[in-house]
């Protein structure tokens, strides 16, 4: 079985479905037996959620107005 360090190193790629079949099985085997690494996995999911949520956000009205003005003035 792979070590905790090896499992943690692959967790984000595992969540991205970017690991090959052998690595996926190795990570899943490890997670089925290691509670701490399950915690690492859940934390990685939450951290990714935080990043995704932080990428959203409204464009301020005054910024939108200025950008639209520039757009109209082009050409």
């Amino acid at each position: 079985m792979i070590t905790c360090s090896e499992a943690v190193r692959r967790l984000w790629e595992y969540l991205d479905a970017m690991v090959d079949e052998a690595d996926r099985e190795a990570v899943e085997e490890h997670l089925s037996l290691c509670r701490r690494c399950c915690g690492e996995l859940e934390f990685a999911v939450e951290l990714r959620r935080l990043l995704l949520g932080s990428g959203r956000g409204d464009i301020p009205t005054d910024v939108l107005r200025r950008l639209n003005q520039t757009l109209e003035e082009l050409g």
Partner: protein
């Protein structure tokens, strides 16, 4: 832009329609990449895209084309500002696990959801501030893939590097981001239970 027979006026109107629809997303990406310079970066992007209007062969790819120009405008602005990211200690960052650090340091001893409480201390502006501490080569792929949903191969094409390079930068970028989150939390009082 909208086919072979279109007039220049049609092409410009198609361009304006495309940019108007994309402005919120372009601004959000720029905000994540260059912080307070976002508006200027989007302005740069619009001007450059307009100058290159004749390069667009596939109207359906217009949004991706705009985003690609924007990312490069942001990188140019970042370089011009010569931001000095925090010095990187790779030995420390490579072995760093934010999950383990939080568990070991136990900053909120009365919490029964320690790790979630740590993350909830970070507002959008805090996340952006942490990202701006990272060297650009790690920040850009991290922002594009994990904040704005770009594919890794799309990111590789925009940055003009091999896919393997993007994957390696994402790995290191994540490690650095976790390390910087902890440092930022310490420096900005996010580890004090009484301020929550």
């Amino acid at each position: 832009m909208a086919g072979v027979q279109v007039t220049r006026a049609d092409q410009r109107e198609d361009f304006r329609r495309l940019v108007r629809a994309e402005l919120p997303r372009l601004y959000a990406i720029a905000r994540s990449l260059v912080g307070a310079d976002a508006e200027d970066a989007v302005q740069d992007c619009m001007v450059k895209a307009f100058e290159r209007l004749d390069q667009v062969r596939d109207p359906a790819a217009g949004a991706a084309w705009l985003r690609s120009i924007l990312v490069n405008c942001c990188r140019d602005r970042g370089r011009a500002r010569s931001r000095q990211p925090v010095p990187v200690d790779w030995g420390e960052a490579e072995d760093f696990s934010l999950y383990r650090k939080i568990a070991y340091e136990d900053p909120f001893p009365y919490s029964d959801s320690l790790h979630l409480d740590f993350l909830q201390g970070f507002g959008r502006e805090d996340v952006h501030a942490v990202l701006l501490r990272l060297p650009e080569i790690y920040r850009v792929p991290l922002v594009l893939v994990y904040m704005h949903g770009f594919l890794t191969k799309e990111t590789a094409a925009i940055l003009q590097v091999p896919l393997g390079t993007v994957l390696a930068r994402l790995h290191r970028g994540r490690k650095l981001f976790e390390k910087q989150m902890w440092d930022y939390a310490e420096e900005n009082g996010l580890l004090k239970e009484d301020v929550r």
